[in-house]
């Protein structure tokens, strides 16, 4: 095909984890389980040796602390549960492809080429753009990009938590979004269409009346109290403009449930705002009048407020 696949890379160099124990140092039960998983995975068909397979699994487990919190101590049972939950066939295929195994690539192309092309078309909304996006990813998967003189394949970052096809779709979506954001930034300011986000955050309105400042404070405090899922719901519905049908699968609930949650959420926020205003010393009539104020008069950037999470930032950096 005229493309040289990437060479097997040093595992410790990929993950940065050097302290992977050897098979002989493992507890007997874990060693037995790993041997059993090796037989089940069919790794031998791609020339993956048992020791190599075990090292891959241990590295994947250690990188995620076997699905537990970073500081948690992992028992053997938890280790076994995590390892059994991995998509071993997909993981072996991805690792074999990243290692440049010819048979693995043949299998990969036979199984995933057409679905990958369809997924790219669906993501871009255009067959031409989809083909271009899919081909670009193929080139990356083959390891055409090199870092420090060594070819790297994105398949090496696949860790078998979800399906390989899902991982490919997500990777395609990431590529597309990043490309879109890069090219949008390159647009001249004059060409910004109406739908584009105006730079509202930096606008400095004049001094606001005290009542509006109180209202803004009440809104801020009410929004600070909502939970992560509710915050996501507000962001997805009001900022992204997603439909209930689009939001529902992300939260793994029915769209009717999303609708109910949204109604409840908005009602709850409104009540909380009223409560806050009453606590500030306003009477009910003043509160009702204040709620009738034009939201554009408020110095509030709800997009910014909603997108600042009170929880810890996701610490994992993008793989690529």
């Amino acid at each position: 095909m005229g493309i040289t696949t990437s060479q097997p890379v040093e595992e410790s160099a990929v993950t940065g984890i050097d302290a992977v124990p050897k098979a002989a140092q493992l507890p007997v039960q874990l060693n037995q389980l790993l041997n059993e998983l090796w037989r089940e995975s069919g790794a031998a068909a791609y020339g993956l040796k048992q020791e190599e397979f075990i090292r891959i699994l241990l590295r994947v487990g250690a990188a995620q602390n076997y699905g537990l919190a970073a500081e948690a101590t992992v028992s053997q049972r938890q280790q076994a549960g995590f390892l059994r939950g991995l998509r071993l066939a997909d993981l072996v295929l991805a690792k074999a492809c990243a290692g440049g195994h010819e048979g693995a690539w043949e299998h990969f192309i036979a199984v995933y080429r057409q679905p990958l092309f369809r997924a790219a078309t669906a993501i871009t909304g255009s067959e031409t753009l989809g083909r271009e996006l899919a081909d670009q990813l193929y080139a990356e998967l083959y390891g055409l990009k090199a870092r420090e003189g060594v070819r790297r394949s994105p398949l090496d970052s696949y860790r078998g938590k979800g399906s390989l096809m899902g991982w490919l779709r997500t990777t395609l979506a990431q590529r597309h979004v990043d490309h879109h954001r890069r090219t949008r930034r390159e647009l001249p300011l004059d060409n910004l269409a109406e739908g584009h986000e105006p730079p509202a955050a930096n606008s400095k309105p004049g001094k606001l009346p005290a009542e509006l400042l109180l209202l803004a404070k009440a809104v801020l405090e009410a929004l600070e109290k909502i939970e992560t899922v509710e915050r996501f719901l507000l962001a997805a519905y009001y900022i992204d403009g997603r439909t209930l049908l689009e939001i529902a699968p992300v939260l793994h609930v029915h769209e009717a449930t999303v609708s109910r949650k949204l109604h409840r959420l908005v009602d709850g926020i409104r009540k909380q705002i009223v409560k806050n205003l009453l606590e500030y010393g306003l009477n009910k009539q003043a509160v009702q009048e204040m709620l009738g104020a034009d939201p554009r008069d408020l110095d509030l950037n709800l997009k910014k407020i909603l997108q600042v999470s009170l929880t810890d930032a996701f610490e994992e950096k993008a793989a690529l």
Binding site: S163, G166, P199, A318
Partner: protein, 372 residues
């Protein structure tokens, strides 16, 4: 320009995909969701990946064969069937509920004929408990008690009979032996009952409609006061019988006091006591005779050697030799026979048979019956 500080820190494709496929733990899910809340880029990635997955699904799934419009309604049959069953049950119960109401109207009419003034049953029962000497109240209470007698098992019938009669029974001798002792004509208890009957001029008239009404009351837990009184008294009597040593009769004063306390049975056995007054050794209560049908007798009457008995199925049997041999009397009445009794007539004893609707037939020999 962009003030979002999170753009360079994103979950990798593996984590986002695992999140979309619900393959992450709760903690990691919360972490990813929290990131997505503030990262429009990752939200967009998830939406697009989801869109691609949805586009892929119809292409990979084989087309299902058309099943027709009925297939869409297949789950509607279950609630529809349940609804139909519930409706049928309600209609059935409603019809059953309405049927005795007609009987109630009839009962009131009969009561008006029998007694001077109709009294509501519950009120009458309560009145019977408070004022046993009142004629109307006694009659109504008698109806209540009689109902209890009719709806009980033969053993209970015998025990209740014994409560108003002499109690020479030995403990543990069983209900039938008690029933046999009922034939003993004169005791202090009976004379007490005769006195009570004389105070109550209203003749007891069996009223099956009242029985039906009270049975419903009992089923619904709203047992009338008099029925409760009867039951309690009967239990008291049973206790007294059990305490008595074998072969020893219960003292007469115990039975008298029991009868005095129990208003309803006092009236309910007026027929028998009246027959006693007429010089007839008759009893229409539960009987220990084992009838040819194999069923227990619910009503028995004795006139010298002749015995007439109605079994639980409503069949009438006649014995000319004090119960040694029985013959089935051909049915010449309508409905189910529930009671038989004997009255003193001009030419001798006259048997009277009453069916479940309250209609009566008379016979001189017990074989040929004419409507009354």
């Amino acid at each position: 320009m962009n003030s979002n500080p999170q753009l360079d820190l994103h979950p990798d494709a593996d984590s986002l995909n695992a999140f979309a496929e619900q393959a992450v733990g709760k903690a990691e899910r919360e972490q990813i969701l929290a990131h997505m809340t503030r990262c429009s880029r990752c939200r967009q990635v998830i939406y697009l990946a989801q869109k691609a997955a949805e586009a892929e699904t119809p292409a990979t799934q084989p087309a299902l064969p058309s099943r027709g419009w009925r297939w869409g309604w297949r789950f509607a049959w279950v609630p529809a069937a349940a609804l139909a069953a519930a409706l049928a049950l309600v209609v059935t119960l409603h019809l059953r509920h309405n049927a005795p109401a007609l009987e109630m109207a009839k009962v009131v009419q009969q009561s008006q004929q029998a007694a001077s003034a109709p009294v509501p049953l519950e009120q009458a029962s309560a009145g019977a408990a408070l004022k046993p000497a009142s004629p109307v109240a006694t009659n109504s209470a008698a109806g209540n008690a009689k109902f209890t007698t009719l709806r009980r098992l033969p053993e209970e019938l015998a025990l209740e009979t014994a409560s108003s009669a002499a109690l020479p029974a030995a403990p543990g001798s069983g209900a039938y032996s008690l029933g046999e002792n009922n034939a003993a004509p004169t005791t202090s208890v009976q004379s007490e009952q005769i006195q009570t009957q004389r105070q109550s001029p209203a003749q007891f008239n069996p009223e099956p409609a009242v029985d039906a009404w009270q049975q419903r009351q009992r089923m619904t837990g709203a047992l009338s006061a008099s029925a409760n009184t009867t039951q309690v008294s009967q239990e008291t009597m049973n206790t007294a019988m059990d305490r008595a040593p074998a072969g020893q009769s219960v003292p007469a004063f115990a039975a008298v006091s029991h009868t005095a306390k129990q208003a309803a049975p006092t009236a309910s056995f007026t027929i028998r006591t009246q027959e006693t007054v007429a010089g007839l050794a008759a009893s229409h209560n539960a009987d220990p005779h084992v009838l040819p049908s194999g069923l227990a007798a619910i009503s028995t009457v004795t006139e010298q050697q002749r015995i007439l008995a109605i079994d639980l199925a409503g069949a009438l049997f006649l014995s000319e030799d004090a119960g040694k041999h029985w013959e089935l009397v051909a049915q010449q009445w309508t409905g189910r026979a529930v009671k038989v009794r004997v009255q003193a007539g001009a030419g001798g004893a006259v048997f009277q048979l009453t069916n479940i609707s309250g209609f009566s037939w008379t016979s001189v020999d017990g074989r040929t019956w004419t409507v009354q």
